[in-house]
């Protein structure tokens, strides 16, 4: 039960408008992402890793949290973006934004092509197919060592300064600024998408797949579209990693990366736009701290964290927080 009666105060249109209004907490969140520049200048490379992973998690949230498509092979697009940007930078041109464009393009094309398979299946079958596609790409990159460097990784990626001015420095000022800027732009895009008619259709697919055709919706077309968009964003995330670290390791396509990003999303709370961002932050910081304590066993603590969060907070950290604030407001 809501405390006040919203129906009296607003029209249906203003209600819909209110759903996409910027909240104070959101603005505070984005301002807080600037803090590492002053507070933790020695941790800027970790901060840029978090921003990249957060963008990757955001791309997964689009398909998992909003359309209900579970993928265990999303690193395929992250890796494609990383290799595309890396190879383009190494052999063609070192300007960063054109590298990202290439990463987005390649990931988008492969995402669009595979979406025709993805949109036909659901549930366990879908998980297995995405897993299979991910493994397939991993092995393809491994065997094409003439192009990708194979298990040695792609070396010699040297990136030009951003806007021709900001060189990528050792401390990671440029890297974090660059990654954060792209993350924010992609977030703005995703936020608009979620509050669009298309975003509503995605939630419709998640809430009731069988009803969708009965209201005249072509769910498969919607899924193809969101899967392609998600692949593009994942590709951009991978591209930033290649550019800021100036190398691409085979690990970008690994199953672990696909699994980790899923864990982050579940930790943070899927379908909440900020869940992936929060989850990526918690996961990466936890990994950094735990691996400082016991380098070989840090996954143990990630396991503990995951089990505890999933048991106590079924909708992730954000789900738990929003439940708390709702309870607090009622009092």
């Amino acid at each position: 039960m809501t405390a006040s009666d919203p129906a009296a105060a607003m029209t249906p249109q203003t209600y819909m408008q209110s759903l996409s209004r910027w909240r104070v907490l959101e603005i505070a969140f984005w301002l807080a992402t600037l803090l590492p520049f002053w507070l933790f200048p020695t941790y800027l490379s970790l901060a840029s890793q978090i921003a990249i992973t957060a963008l990757f998690a955001l791309s997964l949230d689009l398909i998992l949290g909003y359309a209900g498509i579970v993928s265990l092979g999303h690193a395929a697009f992250f890796g494609l973006g990383a290799y595309s940007a890396g190879i383009f930078t190494k052999f063609v041109w070192g300007e960063p934004f054109s590298g990202l464009l290439v990463a987005a393009l390649v990931a988008g094309i492969v995402g669009f092509a595979s979406s025709f398979i993805i949109s036909r299946f659901r549930h366990l079958t879908l998980i297995m197919i995405t897993l299979g596609l991910g493994l397939l790409l991993h092995e393809a990159a491994n065997s094409m060592s003439w192009l990708t460097g194979g298990s040695d990784g792609l070396q010699g990626v040297s990136i030009k300064p951003v806007f021709g001015v900001f060189k990528f420095d050792l401390y990671g000022y440029t890297a974090y600024g660059y990654a954060l800027g792209i993350l924010f732009l992609c977030f703005l895009f995703t936020r608009r998408l979620i509050n669009s008619p298309f975003g509503l259709a995605l939630r419709g697919i998640r809430e009731n797949f069988t009803r969708m055709p009965a209201i005249g919706a072509d769910s498969r077309a919607h899924i193809r579209k969101v899967y392609t968009i998600s692949a593009i964003i994942a590709g951009i995330a991978g591209g930033i990693l290649a550019q800021t670290t100036e190398t691409v390791a085979l690990e970008v396509l690994s199953f672990e990366r696909s699994a980790d990003v899923l864990v982050m999303l579940v930790l943070g709370g899927a379908g909440r736009l900020y869940g992936g961002l929060i989850g990526a932050g918690v996961f990466m910081i936890a990994r950094d701290q735990f691996s400082g304590i016991a380098p070989q066993y840090w996954y143990f603590w990630i396991g503990v964290l995951l089990v505890v969060v999933v048991m106590l907070l079924p909708n992730g950290i954000l789900g738990g927080l929003s439940k708390l604030t709702a309870r607090w407001r009622r009092k």
Binding site: T2, P6, A7, P12, Q13, T14, Y15, M16, Q17, L19, S20, R192, L193, N195, S196, P197, F198, G199, L200, A201, R203, G204, R206, E207, N208, T210, R211, M212, P213, A214, I215, G216, A217, D218, A221, H222, K225, I229
Partner: protein, 257 residues
């Protein structure tokens, strides 16, 4: 797209429709013509194949033989959503709603799908003022206006049944198939739901499944009796109520349940 419906012509028809699962025949040579503006009831004992027939007509099941035409157009090979866009809508016996959306969002979604704007990912939903207002009007007409901001799963059951109808109406159907619109609703409230059904435009062609004979005789102009996947008989309420065969299989002498 077909033109405006004309009274007296056939809105939806089934010709020789046949469906079986293995050796179980669930639809046997079904022939039905729904004239424009019809108020037809589909009755029959449990397991007679009533819902199956709606599934066949709306494309959720594919018949083994036969033909379905909508406004004269053969739609047998069309997907459900293509039939919906051509004006054939349905509701479900068991609530098939968007539990996590509120009624305003759900009906707005259906309106956006009909208008072909549901793929727009670059536009704020609030920019589509017409679609939102249309959705609200449908909800208000079905007495859901005051409940439209509440999450669907929190709505009272009777309201959810009305939302089933609202979602179907948002597709602007020419033909509406209602699968037990008042299923599970207490007897005193089911009248309310059928008042809503009776108040729908008389250009809309209606077929409804219902078990309550009082309701059937009150709202239907024509009754089709389905038994064992086949049409047992059909006719006006007066004819059906006096048909000795119907009385035997359905209305009384042979008790079911």
């Amino acid at each position: 797209m077909s033109a405006q419906p004309v009274k007296g012509t056939v809105a939806l028809s089934a010709r020789g429709v046949q469906k079986s699962f293995g050796s179980l025949v669930v639809a046997r040579d079904i022939n039905i013509d729904l004239p424009v503006g019809a108020r037809y009831a589909l009755i029959g004992p449990n397991g007679a194949g009533k819902t199956t027939l709606i599934n066949l007509m709306t494309g959720m099941l594919v018949p083994n033989a036969g033909q379905i035409t909508l406004g004269g157009e053969d739609v047998t090979a069309m997907k459900p959503q293509e039939r919906v866009r051509r004006g054939l809508a349905r509701t479900f016996q068991i609530n098939t709603l968007f539990a996590g959306l509120n009624p305003l969002e759900a009906v707005t979604l259906a309106v956006c799908e009909r208008r072909g704007i549901a793929g727009r990912f670059w536009q704020n939903i609030a920019a589509n003022k017409d679609a939102i207002e249309e959705a609200y009007e449908i909800l208000a007409k079905l007495k859901l206006g005051d409940a439209c901001y509440r999450t669907t799963r929190e709505l009272p059951y009777g309201r959810q049944r009305l939302l089933e109808i609202a979602l179907a109406l948002a597709t602007k159907p020419k033909v509406l198939l209602l699968d037990e619109p008042a299923a599970g609703v207490p007897h005193e409230e089911s009248g309310e739901i059928f008042e809503v059904v009776a108040g729908l435009s008389d250009e809309l062609t209606l077929l409804f499944i219902e078990h309550d004979m009082h309701v059937v005789f009150r709202f239907a102009t024509h009754i089709i009796v389905l038994v064992g996947g086949a049409i047992f008989t059909q006719g006006s309420p007066a004819e059906i109520s006096t048909d000795p065969g119907v009385r035997e299989v359905y209305l009384g002498t042979r008790k079911h349940g």
